[in-house]
Symmetry: D2
Subunit: 294 residues, 4 copies
């Protein structure tokens, strides 16, 4: 039977994400390394933060015909370039499909948006498990054939529950976690285990209206624009590195209910766009800020 | 079992949508009629097109305590106000749930967005049937428990197929039709049977790039912003009254594939926002333009 | 000699801005009052805050043919409607040209934008004086033929200087004040004399980054969107009722200098749009929020 | 006397804009050339159009300490890299201040915006002359101390007048021309003399509403968003390479007059942003499209 045609094309490529102290010749060194070994570059973007003197780069090249075997690329790159140039770098292969876990509570709009993209083949991702502190959204998980795990976190059992969650994430070989309007705060211990690997959506234009009930606060303040912010989770609530933000106009005619409704459309798109950038390995984090390549 | 909490509140109200030649006192006449009969107004918006001298109005009031019985409101309004003032008017009741049919082809993003809102209780709507010229999206319909009807339209059988579709729509008491990236052009005869009751999404910022392959055309032209447009279908292709539009930035780095991907997020939100406005009876059409109340 | 054609049309109208506790029939009462006295309504917009139960309205009608003489309208309205219905209302006439004072420091972009609109006849306004704590922008004032008053405010002489400024504003019959990137904080005593009559531009998307150096703070926080906010000044710094806001995208490539540059374009447009709304008497303030009519 | 502090910093740099057929190693070759000769790169951005197989690049480096004397850079680059790699390239020096001529008719808003930026030191540019087919804006030119040249073009004298204009532009050593709402169509002969050196602002979101009276057309069509487009002028009216576009929301309440007013704010900002990109030598044109570097 015909299936929905995925939007993405399969490619057999390697991706390097690099940041390091800036100095002359880094770009030439890296591109020369790839060129000399017959690596056909299909994406290259770089950025220099001249104030902080940091060099950032994302480069992707085809593995077909590349002189260094895939399993040796990391070693060669480290020896010849990464270590001498004091680079912080990560190597990815486009045929490794990342494994994402979703955490949800009671609101389904972000969950539906992500699962629809998953089902439609928009993203190269696997979703082995959905975890929730409520049973409410189990039928949605069932509808898309995804395992649903109920973890009723309370103030009393939080430590224990998080241990169970972490155990489950490890068992499932989860690469990163998406909080799709999950209404619990993760403990610093949990966060520490997934550095820059937990993506949250906050329903305001951060840093405005951090914390609870941002639409109520926005209404109270009488702002003329509302927003949503996706960010990596750090132990500092709502203060992690921002990945994506978007806004829409509001006015005196908008009740809190209307703001919540408008905001949902922002939240789901902003969260999904952040997830997609993460899946493409287009995000670098440094000094609590992100470089998000095009 | 607990179910997902709908975003909307049930209300027992009547809604009047009016347009007529402008003259002094219309607003006072209508509001006085409601006030005298103990109709508590919970929404009122009006607009005067001073160039064309047309008065537009949407008013909604509570039926509890209203002196005129619901089944008599139309008659009384016509006799006392509508006919003397040469009004074009429609009366709706908020407890009548509109019945919507979806037409789709192969692309699932708009369909998923609509069904997710339906499943999440965002809208007061019933979806008795999904019609498609391909079998591809039947599993999506199944997943949400909605009847799927396969109508393989070809150039040869179009007249016959449309008859079958219209028959089905009548049987299901369909109030309006949403073309959720349906890749067939409806005949003028079909369109005539649903005046201002067929909502389409065009994947460009109309009137730019009407017709086929707008993302290819946008790429070719090198525009710096792309858009999507929802509109009522008329017999004039892509030229019906515009309901909603939105845009996003593009640049030289965007390939056609990237434009298509970005555009999908626009299309689904713009279409769903138009459907929501239609469901709320907030749209008036006059002279091939819309008045969309807040 | 031909002069630049103003964008605005002269009209001979009266404008009522009203807010009061909501109750049945207010709209009918006001429109009936105007209709009975042959007042041809050319603008009407109203809003009900159903949570706070407040009714807001702006209505504008032609004075030609209106049965009540202009100088009596206020008295009649008060007696017949305003007082019985406990209204807060203000009456304006479109042939009264508001008198605006500008306060500036060293940055010229907002000043130039306002003076260009003034010179081009975009606004119905008079600008009798520009006040500054620096001499730097005097040549700009000279260029547009506007009186420039130098008030070198310091921590020591602030009270005395403000007295001088207020005296000057009174002498010049100033109706409202625009702080066009004025880098001094006005004292509560000054502010108290011009309630909802001092418009400021803050160079961030408030309430994010209130206070000094918002572009530095935005850069530090790594936001993906920056903004500007125009608001009425209250004694609570950067916390007055918001009139208008706008935003633009930023990214990791933007240095602080680039943010400042991008922000200037936002600031000048957002401030000028707020001033224009104020000039049109389209803003109502209630509970530290604005109703800005269309 | 203190003068307005320019936003820009003086720098002593060279800029290369390059496009050529894509092949392995171009980036490495260019950066190696600069590095070997002690050229400290302060900006580098590149783009590969993989469909058309074209490589685009902008690189800027400090001349202090660069081993090749400024007047020899072009020759060396051509011999060693440009010619062998079949490059299309241009070399600029940041201490060369471009000379811009303005063409205007009767509307002052774009002119004021440009002159304000000029006077405020926002741009590194000289404006030796303003040319107009009307006398109306002469006082604006006078106010900013810029020569104003009256060229009353008619259908009959167009060829002769354009000759006079071109002669004047040559005499003044004009590098590029900005049409700041100039309401005359330049002849193909005129345009040919300034390839990708004439910037126009069209008051619509092109390709929608090309030609005359776009706001009237937008109103007639009932669009929900209006726009403005800056582009290089080619002999094909309103069809040249797009540099920048922006949009704002409109609705049924907007009369044509209101659209015109809203549009002015778009037009002036979009035009000025295009001029600024041009001044920074950040625009490459290829196949009637632009690459606009960040």
């Amino acid at each position: 039977m015909e299936t929905i045609k995925p939007l993405r094309e399969k490619r057999n490529t390697a991706i390097l994400l690099i940041h390091c102290p800036d100095r002359q010749g880094i770009l030439a060194t890296v591109t020369e390394f790839l060129n000399k070994n017959q690596g056909n570059i299909i994406y290259l973007d770089q950025h220099v933060d001249r104030q902080e003197k940091i060099f950032y780069m994302r480069v992707e090249w085809e593995l077909d015909g590349f002189a260094i075997p895939s399993e040796k690329i990391g070693e060669y790159f480290a020896t010849l370039i990464g270590t001498p140039l004091k680079m912080n770098w990560k190597l990815y292969f486009s045929d490794e499909v990342p494994r994402m876990a979703l955490f949800v509570s009671k609101m389904p709009h972000c969950l539906f948006d992500i699962l629809a993209r998953y089902a439609a083949g928009e993203w190269d991702v696997e979703i082995p498990v959905i975890i929730s502190n409520h049973e409410l959204l189990r039928p949605v998980a069932d509808r898309f054939g995804i395992e649903f795990h109920y973890c009723p976190v309370t103030a009393e059992n939080k430590e224990e529950m998080e241990k169970e969650e972490i155990k489950l994430l490890k068992e499932k070989n989860i690469d990163f976690v998406v909080l799709a309007r999950y209404m619990q705060i993760l403990s610093p211990d949990f966060v520490k285990q997934f550095p820059n690997k937990i993506i949250n959506i906050h329903h305001s234009f951060l840093p405005a209206f951090a914390g609870a009930k941002p639409y109520h606060a926005a209404h109270e303040r009488g702002v003329k624009i509302i927003g949503a912010t996706s960010h990596y989770v750090t132990s500092d609530l709502d203060a992690g590195p921002i990945i994506e933000q978007d806004v829409t106009r509001s006015s005196h005619v908008d009740t809190i209910q209307k703001l919540i409704r408008k905001g949902r459309d922002l939240e789901k798109i902003v969260l999904s766009q952040a997830v997609y950038k993460h899946l493409q390995r287009k995000i670098l984090v440094y000094n609590n800020r992100t470089v998000v390549f095009n």
